[in-house]
Structure formats: structure tokens, C-alpha cells
Amino acid sequence: MTTATVTGKTDEPVVGTRNYLTEGGVTLRSWLLTRDHKRIAILYTLSITLFFFVGGAAATLIRLNLVTPPGIFTPDVYNRLFTLHGIVMVWFFLIPSIPNTMGNFLIPLMIGAKDLAFPRLNLLSWYLYMAAGLLALFAIVIGGVDTGWTFYTPFSSMYSNGYVVLALAAVFTAGFSSILTGLNFIVTTHRMRAPGMTWYRLPVFVWSNYATSIIMVLATPVLAITLALVAVERLLQVGIFDPALGGDPLLFQHLFWFYSHPAVYIMILPGFGVISEVVPCFARKPLFGYKFVVWSSITISVIGFFVWAHHMFVAGISLYAGLVFSLLSYVIAVPSAIKVFNWTATLHKGWISFDAPMLYALGFIGLFTIGGLTGLFLANLAFDVHVTDTYFVVAHFHYIMVGGMVSAYFAGLHYWWPKVTGRLYHEWWARIAALLIFFGFNLTFFPQFILGYLGMQRRYFSYAPEFQLWNIFSSAGASVLAVGYVLPFFYLGWSLFRGQRAGANPWAATGLEWQTSSPPPTHNFDRTPTVTRPPYQYRPEPEPQDV
């Protein structure tokens, strides 16, 4: 096995004396009022880490409950746990995970800009996110919500006990945080590129976040208004979703999934972007089929809106609509498959090294492929009837969201850690964590495919005794996974203080972000760079880049 880790330029200027962490002061005030996209990215990273552990704690309790058929929690507590897990993980971790941390940090660096187009809006976005997050935590602490993250009416608007309106307000606010980020990214990508940075010279990571932003800007408002309607319906007992009032509950589902299916792509597209950066770097080859990868992202951001009612096949939509949405759901698999083929083709005859970011990236490709293929099962009308609301669905979307997105998040976190912090982490610990996460994940979620196929329903606190064996496997896997997720906390934290200084470009990677010092200065580049080459000019043997 070859490691490219130490082949970077260690003889470079070690650490800029001027960098964004110290420039402009180190007071709390200088952080809370910052307009620097890199500092805001750090604020986001800290906050989403907090929410990741909150959501993870709920997941741990859920798996603990499911070790035995009767479980340890009352149904009511269990309902609140999975609702908490869903709301926190979707809106407070997955949606902002890569865009608001790495996207925020890297997009200006990658396009050669000094900052995002609207730095104040960027900071406002973080404050909205925090307000939303605190509101959600407050709702949880004072009693919680039992609707599931989907807030289906009329349960949420009429029957549910709990602080539904507070939770709705939290998600509504988080939505506007996400809209502001998307708007900022779109304008930045169009208007802030350095001279010579043409569209086809943009790294795929920027393209992916651009595609993500389109969805954020055009889908999120529909969610916001829908949740507002639910809140009013609940408060005033009048509305359009409750059949007893003459309303249509399917209208809620249409509006909700008009956002929430594309939101799946908000969660996964930035992951595609990370993988497209990591794979060429550690295979020392240009990304295969750059334009196909780029345009498949844009395609996804459009036809991702065409498939939403596949969540409603058994809910009472017309058979004709079912056919249309089933066919369209097959179509969306094509651009995703194109990406997988391009990554594997990039690996072909590559000079591959298995550093931690690459381990995560390879894990991503495998797990995302399984998640995607089982998605095709669910797009099939007949099969969907069999597995709707079973653990098959749970396993499917966790392969995308956790196996895919969280792996991509960790791939990116490790890949850009030296750039963000100026320090190197302990490579072997990182590899161990990557492997633990991969195996722990599969042990947790593969049994759930089987359970779902056998008919175990999701969202129940209890289950039939014959399902216990697979549930024990799953819970055991969750413990491994938990260790894998906690480990980085320690070795990354250690690296902050004791880690070796990283040069500007420890991976010998291409891309503008590696051409400035680590950590970068506040205004990113000493002189606005001029771009003359397409991205990913990797050669089989790592060699120093000319700066």
C-alpha cells in the first residue's frame, strides 16, 4: 500500500503568520460578529457537531430499545425519540452538513474569491440556524414531539400531543437559514469567480453545491409555507389538510414531499462533490468524464423535483399518478449512476493510496450504490406496496444518508482538515475510525433490509419475537458505529494542539484552495489568482504543484 500523505511539500512556508483564525482578533465577539466565510464555517461545524451528537444519542436509545421485543421505553417516549432523531438529523445535521461547513469554507477559496457575495447574509443564516436549533431543543426538553419528522396531517395538526407548533417554527426558521445559504452560493458562483475561472474549470465540489443551492432556494419555501399552514391549522382548528374540515391530507403530503424528496438531494449532492474531489486526488488521475459528472448534478437538481409522490404510493393517490411518479423515479437513477461509473472509471488504473479521506470515499461509493439500487426497488409500485413503512425503507435511506452523506462528510472533513486547521491528524487512527464506521454501518443497517423484507414495521416501539436476532445484529452494529463516530472527536481534537503542522498542500492536490497557506489568510489570497487550467490535473506520480 502506498501512502501519499507525506509526499506533499513539507518544505513549504509552514504556517502563515497571518491566518483567519488569529487575524481580526480571537475574542468571542470577533467570532460572533465575523463576516469571514471561513469563521462562519467553523461556527457551523461546531453547531452541527452538537446536533449530530444529540441526534445520535436519540438513535442510540432507539437501538437500545429495539434489542428486545418489548423494549424499555413506553410507546410515547419511543415516538418522541424517533421524532427527535429525525428532525435533528435531517434539518440540523444533514441539510446544513456539507454546504454550510465545507461549502462555506471552500467555495470562495475554490473559485478564487475573497468571500461569499453576501457575508452578512451568511452570518444571518447561521444565527437563524442557531435560533431554529435552540427552539427545537427547547421543544424537546419541555416534552418533545411525537409526529415523526414528516409532520403528517391530520395527526400533527389535530391529534398529536406535544409541542408540534414549536417544532414547526424551528423547522420553518431553519428553512430560511438554508434559503439564505443557497442564495449566497448561487450569486457567488455566478458573480465572484476569479479571472480565468470559467464554468468548466470549476471544481465539481462547487458545481455540486451550486446544484444543491438551486434546490434549497426553490424547494424550501414550499416546505416553509406548508408547515406554517399546519401550525395555523393546529392553533385555530381550521384548515385545508384535515378531512374532517373538508380538507385533503394528501395535499399536505404533496407539498411536504415537493420539498422533502429534493431535500434528499440537498443532503447527497454536496457529498457527490466531496467524493469528486477526493477520488481523483488519491487515484492521481483526472476525474473521468468531468462534464458528465457536472451535468448529472444539474440534472438531478431539476428532475429531483419530478419524483416526490413515490412517497405516497399507498397513501391514496390515483393509479395514474402512481405510474407517472414510478417511471420518473426510475429516471432519476440515471444521473446518479453516471456519477458512480465516473468515479469507478477514475479509479481504473489509478495510482491509488488508501489514506483516510479515500477510505471514506470508497466506502461512500459502495454504500451509496446499495442505497441507490434499493431505491429502485422502492420506485417499483408493486414492491413498494409490500415494503412501505417497513425497515426496508429505513435501511434504504440510511444507506444514502448515513452510508452516503455522513461518509462523504467525514471524507471531506479529513481531506480539508489540514487546510482548515493547519494541522495533520493521526493517519492510523483516522483509518481505524473509517473502517469501524464502514463495518459498523453495514452491521447496523444491512439486517434492516432483511427485517423490512420480512415485514417488520418501522416506527413501532415493539416487534414480533421472530425479528429479534436481526435486531440484535443491528444494535450491535450501532455500538460499533458509535465508537467510530466518537473516535474522530479525540484524534482530530488532539491534532488541533499537538498535530504536525500541515503545509499548504499536504496531499499534493490541485485546486486553488491548496495554493494558499494553511490556514488561509482572512482574504484568502495575497493576490487574486488567475486560472489557466482545468481542474484535476493529476499525474500518476504525485509531484509538487507549481504555485
Binding site: A113, V187, I225, L229
Partner: protein, 222 residues
């Protein structure tokens, strides 16, 4: 208007992230257009709900539509269309560096917007006294009572959220007006006036569609 150019402020320099004022202006106006695309979908969710409800209860919607205050609604449409006109005029004045006219036209726009809200308030008050407010004091008899309630639910949601947009618009226009009065803008820099204008015209467009969907329903019927 001889005062218009007496003491021109020095041209402001762009914010640090931009290379030129032109880049900053382009980013601001494009940003507003993207935001307006968001807004289209924000209202779009309610419009789909409206389409569904009206398609499901045509008779009830016709009955409810005839309860609406068409006189106030039509006058308010004139008010808002006119405010859009004064806004466009203000942008035009700003383009030509005419400071005081810009400020006066913005003031006219804001006053028209306040008039719109005042008339809306009168209308809401009448609806309250007629027990047409769902969830609070709705009282309606007859076979279409449920549909009428749905109509008024959507009516209050749509006009309420539109009204919030009008209120935000008044704030934006007022701030821009003060800046214009103080001479913050010139032919070379009037981006805030332009961006505020875009927002205000959008608020007008939303009303252009709400008007027939609320006030003109069922007017040709019995």
C-alpha cells in the same frame, strides 16, 4: 431640482469581497431576483392549496367570493399598481442622479403602501364584524359553510402573508428614502433603490394574481 447635484457624495468603494462597484451592483440585483424566485414558490404552496380547494368546492367558492369587499379590493389594486408606478419612477430618477425627486417618489410609494394597509385593515374589520374569520369567529350557515370557511382560511393566509410583505416593503422603502434624501446615491451608485424596487414590484405582482382569485370569484353567477 437644482439641489440635486449640489454636494455629491464621493462614490462609495465596493465592499471588500468585490473588485468593483459594478460587480457589487450585479450581485445585489441578481441576488434579489433569486430571492424573488424563492418567493414565487413560497406563495406557490398556498396557490396550489387554493387551486385544489376551488376545484373541489366550486359552488362554495363562488358563494364565498361574493362575500368579499370588491370595492375596497379594487381600490386597493389601483393603489398598489400606482405605488409600483411611483417606485419605477423613483428608480428612474435615481438613475439620473436626481436626489430629491428620488426621495419624494419613494415617500409617495411608502404612503400608497400605508394606504393599502389601512384599507386592508378596514376590510378585515368588516369581515370580523360579519363573522367571516375562520377559527376565531366564523359563523356561516348553509350547505357550503365548510367551503366558505376554507375560502376565508386561504384568504386570510394569502392576504396576511402578502400584508407582511407589504410591511417589510414599507420598511425597506423608508430606509432607502432617507438614504436618498441624504444623498447616498448617484448615477453611478443607486443599487439599493433598484433592489428595493424589484422587491416592491414583486409584491405588486403577487397582488395582481390575488385580486381575481379573491374578489372576482363567482361575480358572474346568480
Amino acid at each position: 431640482m437644482s439641489d440635486a447635484r449640489r454636494e455629491p457624495w464621493p462614490d462609495p468603494s465596493p465592499e471588500p469581497q468585490y473588485a468593483t462597484m459594478a460587480q457589487q451592483a450585479e450581485a445585489a440585483s441578481f441576488g434579489m431576483w433569486v430571492f424573488l424566485a424563492t418567493e414565487v414558490l413560497f406563495f406557490g404552496g398556498m396557490l396550489l392549496a387554493y387551486a385544489w380547494a376551488r376545484g373541489s368546492f366550486p359552488a362554495g367558492f363562488a358563494e364565498a367570493g361574493r362575500h368579499t369587499k370588491i370595492f375596497i379590493g379594487s381600490v386597493n389594486t389601483v393603489v398598489l399598481l400606482t405605488s409600483s408606478f411611483t417606485m419605477a419612477w423613483a428608480v428612474n430618477a435615481a438613475e439620473h442622479g436626481r436626489r430629491r425627486p428620488t426621495a419624494w417618489l419613494l415617500a409617495a410609494t411608502a404612503l400608497l403602501a400605508l394606504l393599502f394597509l389601512a384599507l386592508k385593515g378596514v376590510e378585515y374589520h368588516q369581515e370580523w364584524t360579519e363573522h367571516l374569520v375562520p377559527g376565531l369567529n366564523f359563523r356561516e350557515e348553509g350547505p357550503n359553510a365548510h367551503a366558505v370557511e376554507l375560502f376565508y382560511f386561504l384568504y386570510f393566509m394569502l392576504t396576511g402573508i402578502h400584508g407582511i410583505h407589504v410591511t417589510i416593503g414599507i420598511g425597506l422603502i423608508a430606509v432607502t428614502m432617507v438614504r436618498a434624501w441624504r444623498g447616498a446615491f448617484s448615477e453611478r451608485y443607486y443599487t439599493p433603490v433598484e433592489v428595493t424596487g424589484l422587491y416592491w414590484h414583486f409584491v405588486d405582482i403577487v397582488w395582481i394574481f390575488l385580486y381575481p382569485l379573491i374578489y372576482l370569484v363567482g361575480r358572474s353567477g346568480p
